[in-house]
Structure formats: C-alpha cells, structure tokens
C-alpha cells in the first residue's frame, strides 16, 4: 500500500515536471487552405521542438480580426502568435502592440523576402510580422470562351479590352457571364477590389491634405466603368458576391473572366473542385494607360503580440512556419502547387516551382503593386487596396455599403459617391485629420 502511494506520487510528480517543462503557445489563425495545411504539418514542428506545445484557435476572418484587435489593444495575452494582414501590421506596429522580429535567426534569411511584401510589414526599420503567404490580384479567364469569342488575352490587358472581351463572352441564355467581380459590401470585399481598380484610373482616397476625393472625376469614371461592366456583363445578384461566391461561379463555368486574389488560381485549376480546371488562363490586372494596374497586395502574416508571455517560443514557431524549410516540407508532402506563395524570392528562382502554371503571373502581380506609391498622383498614405490608418476599416465598410447599394440598383453612381464623400469627410474630421 505504502509502495503504491509512493509510486503514484512520484509518477504524478514526473507528470507535473513534464507538463511544466513544455511551453504552450496559442496560435490564432483563419480557415484558409494554406493555414490548415500548416496546422496539419505542425507535428513536424513539435517533433523538432518537443518543449513547445501548440494550441490552435481557428476563427472566421472578421471574428479573428475583432478578437485579436481587442486582445492586443487590451493586452489580454490570449494569443502568442496571431495571423494578421498588411493592413494591421503597420498600425499595430506603430502602436507598440507587436514584438519586433528583427532578431529572427540569420538562416531565416529576411533578405530573401520579396521587397514589396517586406516593405508592407516593416515600420521604421522594424519587421513586425513574418509573411506566411502573399497575394495580389490578377485576371483569371476561360481560354475556351476567349477563343470562341475570337479574341486573345494580352499578358497585360487594358480595362477597355476587358470590357470588349466581357461583351463578347457573355451568353445569358446559357448562363455564362463575361465578367465576375466582387460586389458584396465590406472593406475587405468590394472596397478592396474597387480601391485597387481606382488606382489604375488615377483616383485616390485622399489628397495630400487628407481631403477625401470621392467627388473627383477619376472616382466617377471608376465607379461608372465598374457599374457598366457589372450591369451589362456580370452575373445577376452581383451585389452579394464576394470572393467565395465568385469562386463558386467560376468553378461552375459561369464566368468568362474573374479578377480577384492570386490565391484563387490553385482552386480554379484543381480538377477535383473546378469544372473548368484545364481551361483557365491568367493575365495581369488591367490598367488604363496611366502607369498603375488595378491589382492589390496582401500578405497573411504571423505576428507576436506584445502581451505574449512566451515570446521566444513564439518566435521559434514563426521562424519555422515562414522558413524556406517549411516550403520544402509542403512541397515534399503536398506538391509544389500547394506551397504558400508570394513571400520569398528563392521560391520563384526554384525551377520546380516555375513549372506551376500560375507561379510567374503571381510574382509579376505582386511586383506590380507598390504600397508606398499606390496611385498615379502622390498620396499621404500607404496601402494599395486600403489606407493604412485605423479609421479606414470603419469608413470603407460604410462606403462599401453605398457602392454595393448602387450595384443593386438602389441608387445612382452620383448618389453613392456623394454619400461616400460625406461619410468619409465626417469620419475623418471626427478623427482629427
């Protein structure tokens, strides 16, 4: 009996000892394909670092954003690693909410990061997040429909060509629509697309004195062109279509062209899900001859909040998940087409990766975006499809609703722009600009 108690006590002590020696880090992430793959492969990490245990919190994008914002602002310390984007990093970095990653090990090779992506994640020389995958936007189109229309997609099309092709490809009787674009309201939905598009028309959110510019001619041209495209050649009910809705339409062969995130390329070319997998071609986002293309730049990145109590372990994980070795691990288990794209120069120098059909176009699209100089004229802000100020998400969500309502036929382009101007001016004034 005595021996039993002793044995029990010592094994309990041993258990406590192992439990305390392992450090647990909580990782907040979104349910995107690349993230889920990382979660699946994280056994390799725990094998290499048995002292670090991983806890995953996967949330819907908007929920994640509000969850991590409130936690990082209140220093709740619930998360040690969080998945955030290029919009949050500069703002949060400036607020001192994130841990600098300048001291990641040399073999992690920060110089290998694509300059556009690295620039978007750096504030005053400090890298505040490690890019997990980067994306831009590009034109995805149906080669067969383009051929049937007697047209050939240039590598760098103009908006006029897109309109001509959309008209030629639309066949409403067989439910094929020339073009599918985002119409669903939201700063990350229709406003991401329209802000990027407006850059190529020479429009901008603010002039150098931070005065809203929705009453300018370029914005009117942008919105009129978009409405013209969508009402004549777009699918019905487009004002509720976001990324996923358009992906579904494209995969079922109902879109001639779709301009959206480069990450969609791997979905639409996957024969398991897409009925048009072998007919998809890619081109750069359109321009208007003004020197800027309508493509955006985004990087889902891993950052460590200042409130974390396991910074070193978190850094070890971030370095692992965004390393070249991780890329190779994915390639060896899931194939090169599935490695997280758009973050490292070395990936695009790899001859194996060059064989992936959308690799080159993704890189060119990313390189064509310039977050520090997004529009034709100089602007006081950074960000291609967003303005990197804390007020932007709130303002753009309201403006997005006005534009979505215009697409739904509830108001005219002029009315929508007038309201957008009013909303933005009021909010900016209240924010003290």
């Amino acid at each position: 009996m005595y021996l039993k108690t002793l044995l029990g006590a010592s094994s309990a002590l041993a258990l406590i000892a192992t439990a305390t020696s392992a450090e647990t880090i909580t990782i907040a992430t979104v349910n995107n394909g690349d993230m889920i793959r990382m979660q699946g492969l994280s056994d390799e990490f725990t094998k290499a670092y048995p002292d670090i245990e991983l806890e995953w919190v996967t949330l819907e994008e908007n929920v994640l954003r509000s969850r991590v914002t409130q936690d990082v602002a209140a220093k709740g310390g619930q998360f040690d690693v969080m998945t955030i984007g290029t919009y949050e990093v500069p703002i949060w970095g400036k607020n001192g909410w994130l841990v600098s990653l300048n001291d990641l090990p040399a073999e992690w090779d920060a110089d290998d990061l694509l300059p556009a992506i690295r620039g978007g994640l750096t504030v005053d020389g400090e890298l505040y997040a490690a890019p997990f995958y980067g994306e831009s936007s590009m034109v995805m189109y149906r080669k067969d429909l383009m051929q049937a229309a007697g047209l050939e997609m240039p590598e760098a099309p103009t908006w006029d060509f897109i309109k001509e092709a959309a008209a030629a490809m639309t066949d409403e009787a067989s439910e094929v629509y020339g073009i599918c674009l985002r119409g669903k309201a939201g700063w990350g939905e229709n406003m991401a697309f329209l802000t990027a598009m407006s850059n190529s028309f020479g429009a901008k959110w603010f002039d150098e004195d931070w005065t809203p510019q929705f009453d300018s001619e370029p914005w009117k041209e942008t919105l009129t062109f978009y409405m013209d495209l969508m009402t004549n050649y777009g699918p019905p009910g487009a004002s509720t279509n976001g990324f996923n809705e358009n992906l579904s339409l494209f995969q079922q062969g109902k879109c001639g062209m779709w301009i959206d995130a480069t990450v969609a390329a791997s979905f639409v070319t996957n024969p398991n899900d897409s009925t048009v997998a072998d007919q998809v071609g890619f081109a750069l986002a359109p321009d208007n001859g003004m020197g800027k293309r309508g493509n955006w730049l985004w990087a889902w990145s891993l950052a460590i909040p200042a409130g974390s109590d396991a910074v070193d372990a978190a850094k070890t994980f971030v370095a692992w998940a965004t390393s070249k070795e991780y890329t190779e691990l994915v390639a060896s288990t899931e194939g090169w087409a599935n490695v997280p794209p758009g973050t490292r120069t070395s990936l695009y120098e790899n001859p194996e990766y060059a064989k992936v059909p959308f690799a080159e176009m993704t890189l060119e699209s990313i390189n064509a975006a310039d977050p520090t100089n997004p529009s034709v004229d100089p602007v006081p802000y950074t960000g291609v499809q967003f303005v990197a100020i804390p007020e932007f998400a709130g303002i753009a969500s309201q403006v997005g609703q006005e534009f979505s309502a215009a697409l739904a036929g509830q108001q005219s382009v002029d009315e929508a722009l007038e309201k957008a101007q009013m909303i933005t001016a009021e909010e900016m004034e209240a924010a003290g600009y």
Partner: protein
Amino acid sequence: MARAVTTNRKVINTAFAWGIGLLIFFPILWTILTSFKTEATAIADPPVFLFFDWTLENYQVVQERSNYARFLWNSVIIAGGSTVLGIIIAIPAAWSMAFVPSRRTKDILLWMLSTKMLPAVGVLYPIYLIFIELGLLDTRIGLVIVLMLINLPIIVWMLYTYFREIPGEILEASRMDGASLRDEILYVLTPMAVPGIASTLLLNFILAWNEAFWTLNLTAAKAAPLTAFIASYSSPEGLFYAKLSAASTMAIAPILILGWFSQKQLVRGLTFGAVK
C-alpha cells in the same frame, strides 16, 4: 368539448402545419444533407437534393482536425452551468415578485428586461477588461457567469409568469402549517411549478448553447464551446461548405436530440396556464 372538425379541414390543417414545419426545418435539413456531399457537389448548380454519392469524408476530416469532444464538453458545462446557476438565483427572485409584490415590482421587471435591449457589443470592452483583471478570460467559469447574467432576465420573467398561475392561498396554507420560507419554496412551490421550471431550463439551455457572441469573444483555446468549433470552419478564401456543414451538424446534433425528446415538456411548459 372540442369543436367538431370535418375530416377535410383536418387534412388541410395537417398539410399546412407540415408545410410550415418543413419550411422552418429545411435549412437544417439542407445543412445535414450538404455535410454528406463532396465540396464540388455542395456548390453544384442546380443544387443536388438527394441523389448524390453520399460520403462521410467531411466528418472524418473534421474529426481529424478538431478535438470535437473538448468543444462539446465545454458547451455542456457552459450551457448547463449557466442555466442551473440562473435557476437557483431566479426562483427566489420570481417568488418574491409573484407572491409579495411591492409597488415597484412591475418597474423592476421591465427594467430587467430592458437590459436585453442593449446590444451586447456595447459592454464588450468593459467586460473584457474585467475578465483580464480577474483572470477569467478563456475559462468556463467566466462564461458560465456571463451567460447566466445574460439569460437571467428571461429566466426570472418566465418563472414569474408560471408562479403567478399558482394560487397564493396554497402557499399561505403551507405557511400556516408551519413551513419555513425555504420549505415553502422547495417543497410546495417548486413541485407545483415543475413544468414551468423544466421548460425554463430547456429554453435557457438552448439559448446558452447557441450563444455565439460572448462565447466567441471571451474564449481562445481552452474554454471554446461548439460555437467556436463552427466558426473555425468558415473560410474567407476557399469553398469548404461541406466541411462547414459537417461541423455544424455535429454542433447542433446534441441540442436537436435533446429538443426532440423534450418537445412535449417544452410545449407543455410554454403553454402552461394558457388553458384552465
């Protein structure tokens, strides 16, 4: 005696009731069906209703990726704990309002209900900060308390309505027989109000089970219930509707089964006092 109803009318009424029932149930049925489809079939246009290759693949994927049992256990503890705690507090409160009302009882009842009119997000930040201070973030006890507080007005209101149907004279009689206040509530009032208490329990358990604002905002990895489990399958970039449906089916299954077996009790409780 009930009114005589013609057979024809019965058939029409039954068909109408079934029609409405199916209409309300259809989204859930569609979710369950989608959970057995492949991702490609899930988004097929025109939609496929029954004739597809049924697969359990989604359930397998969800099972491999998430620790369902942990989410389920958290849901049971949080929903069960908050409901039981709420009832324990609400029975004496409802007793005093129903049997020894003061001049302000009606106002207090209305005021309690008015707290339900405030959008939850309005108090998110204060509660978040309090939770940080008290170390309650991502704990089940924290959620039990918050959900209890949120549902308390409804619990008190429901119990108050049921208690009012019970003649005060019976309680008076028990008092005259020497019952203490505790005895009066425990052995006289509670047994008479069992159907009402049971339906209050059930309804609040369902409300707490489905609560998705506080359970998402105050939890991370440890105390997250099934609402967080569903949210983790919603994707901004990628069509995983079949897997999302499988996760949703797994999350609603326990409450659906509970609701099915207790529907008689629930209906009886909700119509308690309506027929004399």
